[in-house]
Subunit: 106 residues, 2 copies
Protein backbone atom coordinates (compact mmCIF):
# COMPACT_ATOMS: atom_id res chain seq x y z
CA UNK A 1 0.00 0.00 0.00
CA UNK A 2 1.01 3.63 -0.31
CA UNK A 3 2.02 5.45 2.85
CA UNK A 4 -1.03 5.21 5.14
CA UNK A 5 -2.56 8.09 7.10
CA UNK A 6 -2.69 5.87 10.18
CA UNK A 7 -1.01 2.62 11.08
CA UNK A 8 -2.65 0.27 13.58
CA UNK A 9 -0.32 -2.18 15.33
CA UNK A 10 -1.86 -5.05 17.24
CA UNK A 11 0.07 -7.40 19.50
CA UNK A 12 -0.72 -11.03 18.75
CA UNK A 13 2.30 -12.49 20.55
CA UNK A 14 1.90 -15.94 22.06
CA UNK A 15 3.79 -17.20 25.06
CA UNK A 16 3.60 -20.69 26.59
CA UNK A 17 0.63 -21.37 28.86
CA UNK A 18 1.49 -20.39 32.42
CA UNK A 19 4.12 -17.81 31.43
CA UNK A 20 4.15 -15.15 34.19
CA UNK A 21 3.66 -12.23 31.77
CA UNK A 22 0.79 -13.86 29.92
CA UNK A 23 0.31 -12.69 26.34
CA UNK A 24 -2.14 -10.91 24.06
CA UNK A 25 -2.33 -14.01 21.87
CA UNK A 26 -4.08 -15.93 24.64
CA UNK A 27 -6.57 -13.08 25.25
CA UNK A 28 -8.50 -13.12 21.99
CA UNK A 29 -6.04 -10.93 20.06
CA UNK A 30 -6.65 -12.83 16.83
CA UNK A 31 -10.36 -12.05 17.01
CA UNK A 32 -9.51 -8.38 17.66
CA UNK A 33 -7.22 -8.42 14.61
CA UNK A 34 -10.02 -9.86 12.47
CA UNK A 35 -12.43 -7.20 13.76
CA UNK A 36 -10.06 -4.39 12.77
CA UNK A 37 -9.47 -5.98 9.37
CA UNK A 38 -13.21 -6.35 8.73
CA UNK A 39 -13.94 -2.79 9.85
CA UNK A 40 -11.30 -1.41 7.48
CA UNK A 41 -12.60 -3.48 4.57
CA UNK A 42 -16.26 -2.68 5.20
CA UNK A 43 -15.54 1.04 5.41
CA UNK A 44 -13.28 1.05 2.34
CA UNK A 45 -10.34 2.25 4.42
CA UNK A 46 -7.63 -0.23 3.46
CA UNK A 47 -5.81 2.42 1.42
CA UNK A 48 -5.85 4.94 4.27
CA UNK A 49 -5.24 2.82 7.36
CA UNK A 50 -2.64 0.03 7.63
CA UNK A 51 -3.01 -2.89 10.04
CA UNK A 52 -0.01 -4.94 11.20
CA UNK A 53 0.49 -7.72 13.74
CA UNK A 54 3.34 -7.24 16.19
CA UNK A 55 5.28 -8.89 18.95
CA UNK A 56 5.18 -7.51 22.48
CA UNK A 57 4.18 -3.86 22.90
CA UNK A 58 4.90 -3.74 26.63
CA UNK A 59 1.92 -3.79 29.01
CA UNK A 60 1.15 -7.52 28.72
CA UNK A 61 -1.13 -7.48 31.76
CA UNK A 62 -3.47 -5.08 29.94
CA UNK A 63 -3.71 -6.91 26.61
CA UNK A 64 -4.86 -7.17 23.97
CA UNK A 65 -2.98 -3.94 23.21
CA UNK A 66 -3.40 -1.80 20.11
CA UNK A 67 -0.97 1.01 19.23
CA UNK A 68 -1.78 3.61 16.59
CA UNK A 69 0.76 5.89 14.92
CA UNK A 70 1.46 8.66 14.10
CA UNK A 71 -1.39 9.52 16.46
CA UNK A 72 0.57 7.86 19.31
CA UNK A 73 -2.51 6.32 20.93
CA UNK A 74 -2.41 3.03 22.80
CA UNK A 75 -5.53 1.08 23.69
CA UNK A 76 -5.69 -1.81 26.15
CA UNK A 77 -8.13 -4.58 27.09
CA UNK A 78 -9.40 -4.21 23.52
CA UNK A 79 -12.31 -6.38 22.46
CA UNK A 80 -13.52 -7.10 18.94
CA UNK A 81 -16.49 -4.73 19.30
CA UNK A 82 -14.10 -1.84 20.05
CA UNK A 83 -12.43 -1.99 16.62
CA UNK A 84 -15.03 -0.05 14.64
CA UNK A 85 -15.35 2.56 17.41
CA UNK A 86 -11.59 3.11 17.64
CA UNK A 87 -11.32 3.53 13.86
CA UNK A 88 -14.25 5.94 13.71
CA UNK A 89 -12.84 8.07 16.53
CA UNK A 90 -9.36 8.00 14.98
CA UNK A 91 -10.59 9.34 11.65
CA UNK A 92 -12.56 12.03 13.49
CA UNK A 93 -9.41 13.15 15.31
CA UNK A 94 -10.75 11.88 18.61
CA UNK A 95 -9.71 9.21 21.08
CA UNK A 96 -11.85 6.42 22.51
CA UNK A 97 -11.25 7.31 26.13
CA UNK A 98 -12.90 4.15 27.52
CA UNK A 99 -10.05 1.94 26.32
CA UNK A 100 -7.02 4.26 26.33
CA UNK A 101 -4.05 2.60 28.04
CA UNK A 102 -3.58 4.11 31.51
CA UNK A 103 -0.71 6.64 31.66
CA UNK A 104 1.14 4.51 34.21
CA UNK A 105 1.38 1.68 31.66
CA UNK A 106 2.35 3.66 28.55
CA UNK B 1 8.47 0.87 29.24
CA UNK B 2 7.03 4.34 29.47
CA UNK B 3 5.82 5.97 26.28
CA UNK B 4 8.87 6.05 23.99
CA UNK B 5 10.04 9.05 21.95
CA UNK B 6 10.45 6.80 18.94
CA UNK B 7 9.18 3.33 18.10
CA UNK B 8 11.10 1.15 15.67
CA UNK B 9 9.10 -1.60 13.97
CA UNK B 10 10.99 -4.31 12.12
CA UNK B 11 9.36 -6.93 9.92
CA UNK B 12 10.59 -10.42 10.74
CA UNK B 13 7.78 -12.28 9.00
CA UNK B 14 8.60 -15.69 7.56
CA UNK B 15 6.90 -17.25 4.58
CA UNK B 16 7.51 -20.71 3.15
CA UNK B 17 10.53 -21.10 0.88
CA UNK B 18 9.56 -20.31 -2.69
CA UNK B 19 6.64 -18.02 -1.75
CA UNK B 20 6.29 -15.48 -4.59
CA UNK B 21 6.42 -12.46 -2.24
CA UNK B 22 9.46 -13.67 -0.33
CA UNK B 23 9.79 -12.36 3.21
CA UNK B 24 12.00 -10.23 5.45
CA UNK B 25 12.57 -13.23 7.70
CA UNK B 26 14.55 -15.00 4.98
CA UNK B 27 16.65 -11.89 4.30
CA UNK B 28 18.57 -11.59 7.54
CA UNK B 29 15.87 -9.67 9.42
CA UNK B 30 16.70 -11.42 12.71
CA UNK B 31 20.29 -10.17 12.50
CA UNK B 32 18.99 -6.67 11.77
CA UNK B 33 16.73 -6.91 14.82
CA UNK B 34 19.68 -7.95 16.97
CA UNK B 35 21.74 -5.05 15.64
CA UNK B 36 19.04 -2.53 16.56
CA UNK B 37 18.64 -4.09 20.00
CA UNK B 38 22.39 -3.98 20.62
CA UNK B 39 22.69 -0.39 19.42
CA UNK B 40 19.90 0.71 21.77
CA UNK B 41 21.44 -1.11 24.73
CA UNK B 42 24.97 0.12 24.06
CA UNK B 43 23.80 3.72 23.78
CA UNK B 44 21.55 3.51 26.84
CA UNK B 45 18.48 4.29 24.74
CA UNK B 46 16.10 1.52 25.76
CA UNK B 47 13.96 3.96 27.75
CA UNK B 48 13.68 6.41 24.84
CA UNK B 49 13.35 4.15 21.82
CA UNK B 50 11.13 1.06 21.59
CA UNK B 51 11.85 -1.85 19.25
CA UNK B 52 9.14 -4.29 18.15
CA UNK B 53 8.98 -7.18 15.68
CA UNK B 54 6.10 -7.11 13.22
CA UNK B 55 4.38 -9.04 10.51
CA UNK B 56 4.31 -7.74 6.95
CA UNK B 57 4.85 -4.01 6.45
CA UNK B 58 4.12 -4.05 2.72
CA UNK B 59 7.08 -3.80 0.34
CA UNK B 60 8.32 -7.39 0.71
CA UNK B 61 10.58 -7.14 -2.33
CA UNK B 62 12.60 -4.42 -0.57
CA UNK B 63 13.06 -6.14 2.79
CA UNK B 64 14.23 -6.19 5.45
CA UNK B 65 11.97 -3.22 6.12
CA UNK B 66 12.12 -0.96 9.18
CA UNK B 67 9.36 1.54 9.99
CA UNK B 68 9.83 4.29 12.57
CA UNK B 69 7.02 6.27 14.19
CA UNK B 70 5.98 8.95 14.95
CA UNK B 71 8.73 10.11 12.56
CA UNK B 72 6.97 8.16 9.76
CA UNK B 73 10.22 6.98 8.17
CA UNK B 74 10.54 3.65 6.38
CA UNK B 75 13.88 2.09 5.52
CA UNK B 76 14.40 -0.83 3.14
CA UNK B 77 17.15 -3.28 2.25
CA UNK B 78 18.36 -2.67 5.80
CA UNK B 79 21.53 -4.45 6.91
CA UNK B 80 22.82 -4.92 10.46
CA UNK B 81 25.46 -2.21 10.02
CA UNK B 82 22.73 0.33 9.21
CA UNK B 83 21.10 0.06 12.63
CA UNK B 84 23.43 2.37 14.57
CA UNK B 85 23.43 4.91 11.74
CA UNK B 86 19.64 5.00 11.50
CA UNK B 87 19.30 5.48 15.27
CA UNK B 88 21.91 8.23 15.36
CA UNK B 89 20.25 10.10 12.50
CA UNK B 90 16.81 9.63 14.06
CA UNK B 91 17.86 11.18 17.36
CA UNK B 92 19.48 14.05 15.45
CA UNK B 93 16.20 14.73 13.63
CA UNK B 94 17.69 13.56 10.35
CA UNK B 95 17.01 10.72 7.93
CA UNK B 96 19.47 8.18 6.58
CA UNK B 97 18.78 8.90 2.92
CA UNK B 98 20.81 5.94 1.59
CA UNK B 99 18.25 3.43 2.85
CA UNK B 100 14.96 5.33 2.81
CA UNK B 101 12.22 3.29 1.15
CA UNK B 102 11.56 4.66 -2.35
CA UNK B 103 8.41 6.80 -2.56
CA UNK B 104 6.82 4.41 -5.06
CA UNK B 105 6.92 1.64 -2.45
CA UNK B 106 5.73 3.53 0.64
Amino acid sequence: MARPEFHIFLCTQRRPDGHPRGCCGSKNADAVYDAFAQALIQNNLTNRVALTRTGCLGPCMAGPNVLIYPASQMYSWVEPEDAAIIIKQLLAGEVYADKLTPAELW
